[in-house]
């Protein structure tokens, strides 16, 4: 695993994205993400295919895999020392493929959203707080953001604030 040094700061550039072109993706297929709760191996496979498309930043307790899709959606995956993804975060003009990045947690998430919908119609930010899954997200048209994590998979000493 090639590790890059952590970036100094994030610059506040929004759309349009003025920075360097760093990846080329064939057709419209989304890159395959590792899924929440699963192992990060598939990220490495994708990284090999797409060269620099994934940035990896290593800190003491975990690594952050940062991938930008063809639709300019930025997804960060938080990988623990055991290689498993304990959190994901996203930001962009559209939602990422949630079924892909939530993996085996997607049905649990979808059921929770549908249960809330049954109680009160109308739109409001997502806030799912279950023992094994926390999801928070919001935004407006063309400005979405959110995060999800599995509380009992958080590495020791890591704050949930890190997932963003």
């Amino acid at each position: 695993m090639k590790l890059e040094t952590p970036r100094e700061t994030c610059r506040t550039t929004g759309w349009p994205l003025k920075a360097t072109v760093v990846l080329v993706i064939l057709a419209f297929s989304l890159p395959s993400f590792a899924e929440l709760g699963g192992y990060a191996d598939s990220v490495e496979v994708d990284r090999a295919k797409m060269k620099a498309s994934i940035k990896v930043t290593q800190s003491k307790a975990y690594a952050v895999h940062e991938i930008t899709t063809a639709n300019k959606i930025l997804v960060r995956e938080y990988v623990a020392a055991d290689g498993r993804v304990f959190g994901v975060a996203w930001q962009g003009p559209f939602l990422p493929d949630l079924s892909q990045i939530f993996g085996s947690f997607y049905n649990q998430y979808s059921d929770a959203v549908k249960a809330e919908k049954r109680t009160y119609a109308g739109h409001r930010p997502v806030d799912i707080r279950q023992p094994r899954l926390v999801v928070q997200g919001g935004g407006h048209m063309l400005g979405h953001f959110g995060r999800a994590y599995v509380p009992d998979m958080l590495p020791e000493g890591v704050s949930t604030d890190a997932i963003r």
């Binding site: 300019k72 959203v113 109680t119 009160y120 928070q136 919001g138 935004g139 959110g146």
Partner: protein, 597 residues
């Protein structure tokens, strides 16, 4: 494998994706834990929210320690009996001359600083509800020359005396016909110079203190373009599943372009957090709109997602859109597909709930009148026309038989994208002003407001000198500071039904998931965009708020996404909020788009 040989978009082959110095949002600091309650917590749940003379309401209480004492305000307006740690019984006076709100307060015996209030509306007898077609009517807009049949439904009218009807003002505002003690037909005048307000009042013949009113706005007939009308009525009442929850409804007329083949659709949710008119196909019962195609037998379909990860899917149609005296000619709109057509996975996998019924959507459609001209633009950049080198997964070109799950998104030029209708108006096309009066209490059966088109284009949409104009960042957000924490992705949105922000306030666990349920009312303050004037607001227990039949809630809130304050519908009660459309004429040099209030 698909077998059709339709054309592919030319730029479907190679895409350059751009990674940028995108900044993730500032940490909200809100952790996953529900706030820990220390000390005394009181929860109240009234059996009803409204009683008539001698009516009885029981208030159930839960308190984690000690007992409760009870008080009533105004004192002596009715009685409290059987006070205990588990509740109290309220009985209204036998004679009620005017509608009165009473506040019943439970106070802890172990910590007298801790108390919880609940409010009840005490109505004079008889109570009167105005209906049309069996449904409760809110503020109505009516075209010049049209008529509306209205019934009065009375409860407690022991002598069956019924009501008398009156119009205010009485001159030039139409006539009443077919008058009985429980029904009337209102006939609007044959012409109107502009939007003309009129109030219809039903007064109990047995008790002149008991009245019901209906606010009507007469607008010039749609066939008179250029009229000075620029106002649409908004109300929180109605909706497909009343009572609604802080949903601002209006009605629009959609017509086959350049014809009088039109249909008026009510219960359209006004949303400043999105762009474009989207109507449930199932609500289009009498008019068939032409769908937008490529001229070779394929048609454009549209996908949008909302902040709760729900999504809408359906074909792009073209319509003349009439609202509040304004016209958007040949506007691309979305028809939300009923049934279960195949949705491309690029659309559906980003979402969870396909809101393709009135119950799921909470409306018959959504009128997106946000900061941008179409559903593809953000701060001058078109994410759908191919100009950025990537394509938003918003539009799909498919045969009339439908799409496949594997269909990729396609490009679409701006003139064919689903459009913010205000952008297409002949005048008053640079934004909106939405205004509501303050609620008299923490909640109300209904709130009625106005959607005024244009900013500084008329005498009724001038930005007052006391207002602050807010510049926005590259994603149309501004910063809100709450408790010293900067929430950098904050926004104002009529389409969100509460105030949503990170907090340690307890989240509801039972009947109101996704909202806050503090044991006692919480008073908070936040500052927007460096404004010198803080916004003070309060949050009440949502499960208590939802126990009645109210549809307007001043103090409804819930947890938000990280780093964001979502100023939803309650922010509009007692305010006028301006939403300026990016790139349109701006009355504030250097600011576009902007919010102002």
């Amino acid at each position: 494998m698909r077998s059709d040989n339709r054309k592919k978009p030319v730029h479907g082959a190679l895409l350059a994706a751009v990674a940028a110095g995108l900044t993730f949002l500032a940490a909200c600091g809100g952790s996953s834990s529900n706030g820990n309650l220390t000390g005394v917590a009181i929860g109240l749940a009234p059996s009803v929210r409204s009683v008539g003379p001698a009516g009885v309401a029981t208030i159930a209480a839960t308190v984690n320690t000690g007992s409760l004492t009870w008080s009533l305000s105004p004192s002596g307006f009715g009685t409290l009996t059987s006070p205990s740690a588990t509740g109290v019984t309220y009985t209204a006076p036998t004679t009620v001359s005017t509608p009165t709100v009473v506040t019943i307060t439970a106070t802890s015996t172990t910590s007298t600083g801790v108390s919880a209030p609940v409010q009840l509306a005490v109505q004079p007898s008889p109570t009167i509800a105005l209906q049309t077609g069996g449904k409760t009517v809110g503020p109505e807009t009516i075209a010049a020359g049209q008529q509306l049949a209205i019934n009065a439904v009375l409860v407690g009218d022991t002598t069956n005396a019924g009501v008398t009807w009156s119009l205010s003002p009485s001159a030039g505002t139409g006539t009443l016909s077919n008058v009985t003690t429980t029904s009337v037909t209102y006939i609007a005048p044959g012409s109107a110079p502009g939007n003309t307000p009129v109030t219809l009042t039903a007064t109990s013949a047995a008790n002149s203190g008991s009245i019901a009113t209906l606010e009507l706005t007469i607008y010039p007939a749609a066939a008179s373009p250029g009229a000075a009308a620029n106002v649409a009525a908004l109300t929180t009442s109605g909706g497909p599943a009343p009572p609604g929850t802080n949903s601002f409804f209006t009605s629009v007329s959609v017509c086959v372009p350049s014809t009088t083949n039109c249909q008026t659709i009510d219960n359209i949710l006004v949303d400043t957090g999105s762009e474009g008119l989207r109507v449930l196909q199932s609500a289009m019962t009498t008019v068939v709109l032409p769908q937008l195609g490529d001229g070779s037998g394929d048609y454009f379909n549209n996908c949008v997602s909302f902040l709760d990860t729900s999504y809408l899917w359906g074909p792009v149609a073209v319509a003349d859109v009439y609202i509040g005296g304004e016209t958007a000619g040949s506007a691309p709109i979305q028809l939300i597909s009923s049934g279960n057509p195949t949705v491309p996975s690029n659309c559906s996998n980003g979402g969870t709930v396909n809101e393709n019924t009135p119950a799921l959507l909470g409306a018959n459609g959504i009128l997106g009148i946000g900061l941008e001209p179409t559903d593809c633009f953000i701060q001058g950049v078109d994410l759908c026309d191919g100009s950025t080198g990537s394509i938003l997964p918003a539009y799909y070109l498919c045969p009339s038989s439908g799409c496949f799950t594997t269909d990729p998104p396609t490009t679409l030029p701006p003139t064919q994208q689903v459009v913010n209708p205000v952008f297409l108006f002949g005048t008053d096309n640079n934004g909106t002003a939405i205004t509501f009066p303050p609620l008299s209490g923490i909640s109300a059966p209904a709130a009625d407001g106005s959607l005024v088109f244009g900013i500084a284009t008329s005498t009724n949409n001038t930005i007052p000198g006391t207002a602050t104009v807010f510049a926005l960042d590259a994603q149309d957000f501004f910063a809100t500071v709450l408790n010293g924490q900067t929430l950098s992705s904050s926004f104002i949105d009529t389409g969100s039904n509460g105030l949503f922000f990170p907090s340690s306030i307890t989240v509801c666990s039972n009947t109101a998931p996704g909202f806050y349920c503090p044991a006692t009312q919480q008073s908070l303050s936040a500052t927007n965009g460096g404004s010198a004037t803080p916004v003070n607001f309060k949050i009440d227990n949502a499960e208590n708020l939802f126990t009645g039949n109210d549809s307007a809630f001043q103090t409804l809130g819930g947890p938000g996404g990280t780093g964001s304050f979502d100023w939803g519908a309650p922010f509009f009660y007692g305010r006028t909020v301006f939403t300026q459309i990016d790139g349109q004429a701006t009355p504030v040099a250097g600011f576009s788009p902007f919010w102002a209030y």
